[in-house]
Amino acid sequence: MTTGTENRADERTVTCADAVQEALAEAMERDDSVIVLGEDVADLQGGGIRGCTQGLSTRFGDGRVRSTPISEQAIIGAAVGAAIAGMRPVAEIMLMNFITVAMDQIVNHAAKTRYMSGGQASVPLTIRTMTGAGAGTGGQHSDMLEAWLAHVPGLKIAVPSTAADYKALLTACIFDDNPCIFIENTLQLKSKGSLIANEKPLPLGKARIVRSGSDVTLISYGRPMIDAEKVAASLGDQGLSVELIDLRTIVPFDEETILNSVAKTGRAVVLHEAVKRFGVGAEIASRIHEELFADLKKPVLRLGMPYTPVPFSSALEKPILWNADKIEAAIRSLM
């Protein structure tokens, strides 16, 4: 999240929540068909519980920015319908665990309508949702469930890790003609990063090589990127050269960048916040093994949450999360 350098003239420091708000405002300004709905998103309701939609209803009107009842099926359903009718709805599901009441609309309708209609209908909606462990919110408010959605053909999934990506990836989702899921991190929304004016648009599906290296590839996305970056830097200082890749998009994911890197390093660690078992890391590790079996010096290592619901007590929650020590130990175990 830190640039390590002074801001450039065309650079501003904003919170990730601000970055989301800017992406929405600019998209709405640019295209009348961009509309916003979700619980408490309008200004009468405070512009979103994290302020991500603040000012939008005042600026673009109560028609285009609507607070909803607590009805996630109705929220996603309305977004699906409006998208079919040619709008670009951005629906907020307040926390990711609440997609569990709306999975039907996401999976059976948003994801499949283009296909089942033989391409006659298009569902260019974006679902913004927020989640993440580490804040002591317990078992029903912390889950990362991107692996479920990745298993559903028809959806695209983006997980930003910097303020700039919060803005750029959300913009890409909104203007993508497919249903996109944009996963924000509860703890990260308040943290700051820099935005560069008129940055060129980011395509979905391209990873970012945060740091190039030659000894080992570290692949991650979302909030764990912060620690990943620290570890890569500190190991670099110690002469261990880590190539760090921020996946940015889970579907489609950037196999080319990953495979090129691991072909070079011969070693890889995949790190994510979600439960390790049956997680996104399993797919990435499988692809690397399938394609680079002969080049690998060591098996791909996965880091993720142990197989457990998220406990409330910090004494229990902290130990199950990733941290710099665990990442470093994983990397060292491969050398």
Binding site: G63, R64, P69, Q73, A74, D104, H109, Q120, N178, P252
Partner: protein, 328 residues
């Protein structure tokens, strides 16, 4: 008052044309499946024809319709072209959905049919989105969403009606109460006798109507269409009707008491409307027979067309997953 006028003769005849098309098409499909020439899941709408027929004559082509697996009547009434529809049933490349959707998932945007879902209740919230888009554009399009009595017990119904009421959306919720939800009777799963009474839970105007009576159905639809068109918000219509066949083809429906079926058969909407047209002098027996024959010919034509279409190429299966093919 204009408002109280019923449908005129031409309108009734128009409705009858749709009813006859649906009934004949239903019968033809059943023969095709029973004879083994068509393999498709099929949910017959026989007995429910009048409901969408009477609504559709009040709709514009670009008004939206959302419906369910039991959707043949809704599709045909709204004007989905028959050839592409049957080709879809046969899984052919010329099907409206290129064979990818099938009978349960018909889409044909030019007729306004934008969604046919196989998930009970899920079309209800989707219709709200269509209505929202119309409301924003001020283009006057309204959305009609069809569902069964059983669907009125699922969460999506509740969330959908509440949101439509709060947002005053131009949406008509049409509950085709055919008395059965798969093998479960209305009383077996539904805590109210009249689903129309559920409208009050949303402060939504509701109409209870005999869905087998073309005149009454048209009247109910007109009230709802006018309200939606004029910014008056949504309406819940409960149209009482009956499902004359099993839930799907192959279901002998032993669970339906014989007397119940017999009583409803006396109220079959098709012969009733036919008789009314003649009795009131809107058409002669001969004129009606001619209409029916031309429909029969149209159906034969479409069946022949559908059956001779090629199957989609395997490569077609890889398209339309995303707007562009992505390597995954």
């Amino acid at each position: 008052m204009e408002r109280l006028n019923g449908p005129d003769g031409a309108t009734l005849l128009n409705i009858y044309g749709k009813v006859s098309l649906i009934k004949q098409c239903d019968e033809r499909l059943i023969r095709l499946i029973r004879s083994g020439r068509l393999a498709a899941p099929y949910y017959s709408p026989r007995g429910q024809e009048v409901i969408p027929a009477a609504i559709s004559v009040l709709l514009n082509d670009d008004d939206y319709v959302v419906t369910i697996y039991r959707g043949l009547h809704d599709h045909l009434a709204k004007g989905v072209p028959l050839k592409g529809l049957l080709a879809e049933y046969f899984g052919r490349a010329a099907g409206h959905c290129k064979g990818k959707g099938g009978p349960m998932h018909i889409t044909h945007p030019a007729s306004g049919v934008v969604m046919t879902t196989g998930i009970v209740g899920s079309g209800i919230p989707i219709a709200n989105g269509l209505g929202w888009a119309s409301q924003l554009r001020g283009d006057g399009r309204i959305a009609v969403t069809n569902f069964g009595d059983g669907a009125s017990n699922i969460g999506a119904f509740h969330e959908g009606l509440n949101l439509a009421a709060v947002w005053k959306l131009p949406v008509i919720f049409v509950c085709q109460n055919n008395q059965w939800a798969e093998h479960t009777s209305l009383a077996g799963g539904t805590s109210v006798t009249d689903i129309a009474n559920r409208g009050a839970a949303y402060d939504m105007p509701s109409i209870l109507v005999d869905g087998n009576d073309a005149r009454a159905m048209w009247g109910a639809a007109r009230e709802a269409v006018e309200r939606a068109r004029n910014g008056g918000g949504p309406t819940l219509i409960e149209a009482k009707t009956f499902r004359f066949n099993g839930h799907n083809l192959g279901d002998p429906a032993h669970y339906i008491p014989e007397e119940e079926l017999a009583a409803w058969q006396l109220r079959d909407p098709h012969p009733a409307l036919r008789a009314l047209l003649i009795a009131e002098g809107h058409a002669t027996e001969a004129e009606i027979a001619a209409i029916e024959e031309s429909i029969a010919a149209e159906i034969e034509d479409a069946v022949a067309y559908a059956m001779e279409q090629p199957y989609p190429d395997e490569s077609e299966g890889r398209l339309d997953i995303y707007d562009e093919e992505i390597a995954i």
